[in-house]
């Protein structure tokens, strides 16, 4: 995983609530055995018109949103399945952070393992962000903050362990393998079955 220390971008603003993993990447695109290049399937069923051309009204297709790496969305973003294809597709679209008042548990965990920062803020703050797509937002992982152009700063929760993983660009697998002596001990003692 590449380190993620800061994100500075205007945001893609999408107030819709309960954006589920079946929208982020529909199940019929999960027949792949790869994890790269899934961005082209992201929001497939909302993104195109019947003739296959991009729907100009769809939020990710609007020219002003091109190149933006922060998505601000309605509550309960990422609900549904455990498919890690969801954050794989979103990062392939160029997203580095998702801001919402609520982010589903499994999606949140999957995102952190793929350099996609899930940020939960109060709905009042999210509403303000949603009203101002022109604001350039500055996110700092080191102090767990999101700064607005007017200087206001909002802090978000990020587990200390996850924070280090993002800052250092390390994944959890190496850490887990290093716990082998503890695991061995556990297997030999209380859990010998």
């Amino acid at each position: 995983m590449n380190p993620l220390r800061s994100v500075t971008s205007k945001s893609i603003c999408w107030a819709r609530s309960n954006i589920d993993t079946d929208q982020i990447i529909p199940a019929r695109f999960l027949s792949t055995t790869e994890r790269v290049g899934l961005g082209r399937f992201a929001f497939n069923d909302w993104r195109y018109l019947k003739d296959g051309s991009p729907d100009p009204d769809f939020v990710f297709n609007k020219p002003e949103n091109a190149g933006r790496s922060i998505l601000v969305a309605g509550p309960n973003f990422g609900c549904g399945s455990s498919r890690e294809h969801a954050p794989w597709a979103l990062t392939d679209l160029g997203l580095q952070a998702v801001v919402s008042s609520e982010i589903a548990d499994i999606f949140r965990g999957n995102s952190l393992k793929n350099g996609l920062l899930p940020i939960v803020l109060d709905q009042a703050i999210v509403d303000e962000l949603l009203a101002h797509p022109e604001w350039e937002l500055a996110i700092e992982v080191a102090d767990k903050s999101l700064r607005l152009p007017d200087g206001r700063r909002f802090h978000f929760h990020l587990d200390a362990f996850q924070q280090i993983c993002l800052l250092e660009g390390v994944d959890e697998l190496g850490y887990l393998l290093a716990r082998s002596p503890s695991i061995q001990k556990f297997e030999e003692s209380c859990h010998a079955r």
Binding site: A15, R16, S17, N18, D20, D22, Q23, P26, A27, R28, L30, S31, T32, T33, E34, R35, D45, G74, P75, N76, C79, G80, S81, S82, R83, E84, E102, A104, D105, I106, G109, N110, K113, N114, D159, A160, F161, D171, E172, L173, Y175, L176, L177, R179, S180, S182, I183, F186, E187, C190, H191
Partner: protein
Amino acid sequence: MSARTLFDKLWDAHLVEAETAEAPALMYIDLHLIHEVTSPQAFAELESRGITLRRPERTKATLDHSTPTLPADSDGELPYHNEAARGQVQRLRENCARHAVELFDMDSEARGIVHVIGPELGLTQPGMTIVCGDSHTSTHGAFGALAFGIGTSEVGHVMASQCLLQRKPKTLAIEVDGALASGISAKDLILHIIGQIGVNGGTGHVIEYRGAAIRALDMEGRMTLCNMSIEAGARAGMIAPDQVTFDYLAGRPRVPAGAAFDAAVAGWKNWYSDDGAAFDRVVRVDAASVRPTVTWGTHPGTALAIDAAIPVAKDAAQQRGIDYMGFKAGETVAGSAVDVVFVGSCTNGRIGDMREVARILRGRRIHERVRMLVVPGSAQVKREAEAEGIDAVVRAAGAEWREPGCSMCIAMNGDLVLPGQLAVSTSNRNFEGRQGPGARTVLASPATAAASAIAGVVADARTYVVGAHQGATNTDAKLVAPEGAPAGAGVSA
């Protein structure tokens, strides 16, 4: 030690290292289930790093999502939806062979949907930690296990270390007092619960279902309930094991027999919440108030009684859901014209569900407009059902009897609902396009699904039979007058 919840006990018993401010807990995983969709990238990651599975005997594999539900042709060729699906199945075979993982392959008598076969084989047992790259892993919590869905990175973590890094979630007790009325199933109950607490009502929590109405459920009903915990946002749902659990497990292939079984039961009896154990939240549900429940929108939280008025949308998202479904506020879901009926999935693909559907279909024909698929959850469910003649009942009614798999629940294998069609489905998700692009899904119980197939409109099964609950016998089935039946539901057989 102070009073602990069932979850606390499971958590404590599997702690390899306790959590600190700096690091999450290291949790040992007893059973890891994998399937073809969410495992290939994990195997690839391990192989790229030269890592092998730490305890391959604790990982079990099956094929379910991408597999066809039509039988092989005369040459023995299975009709895969596309080459990608075939390739994914082949990849799991190769990965399992290379890493010494037991696979229930297409020709195995034990193959089926991962959350159906775990319990069926007795792999799922009380007191275990169980994970799978699939959000409906919560199903296994019905046995008093801590079971939850994980992403593919974590599938790799479990393969490599037999452990996961976890922060302790909060606990939510759902106390279901009283008794379910006749004709009301566990599916109605869980839809009712999700409708009550919301599609995000369990986020950050592990649910324990408790109370008299839970104790009265058989294991299949308990699995249906725990299965849909994720649809309320909770990663795990659980029920303390009791005699019903032990009786279900007795004699299962992977459960110890004889004196070893008695010893296992003695251990399993310790998995319960102590009196006075504190939950972070408690929600009370009156079982008697649950009616046949269906969904009216595009997430499982949009649940209400089949004959209740669809509410006025609270926001744009709800209105979008109502519009997508083609419904109107103030109308009922009952009476809506149905194109497709799907019976199956890890939620309702078990033998009790098949029996329930057959009981309503027996001697009747499905509506001419309706295409109905009945898909057993496993090869064993299929064998049992066929031994009882359920396949013949299904076919005689004009419905299709299929091979086991996830099928039309996730619509990856070519079984799908066409754009604009309305499907009454016993599965677990009614998201836009879940059952195929443009598909409109009404979630319902097996009884409601079967009744709707006959009526050609969303229909209350109580119009057709009395005692339409799981496990009821044929002698319970009596035709009754459609008293107070919703519009369109009073179709005679």
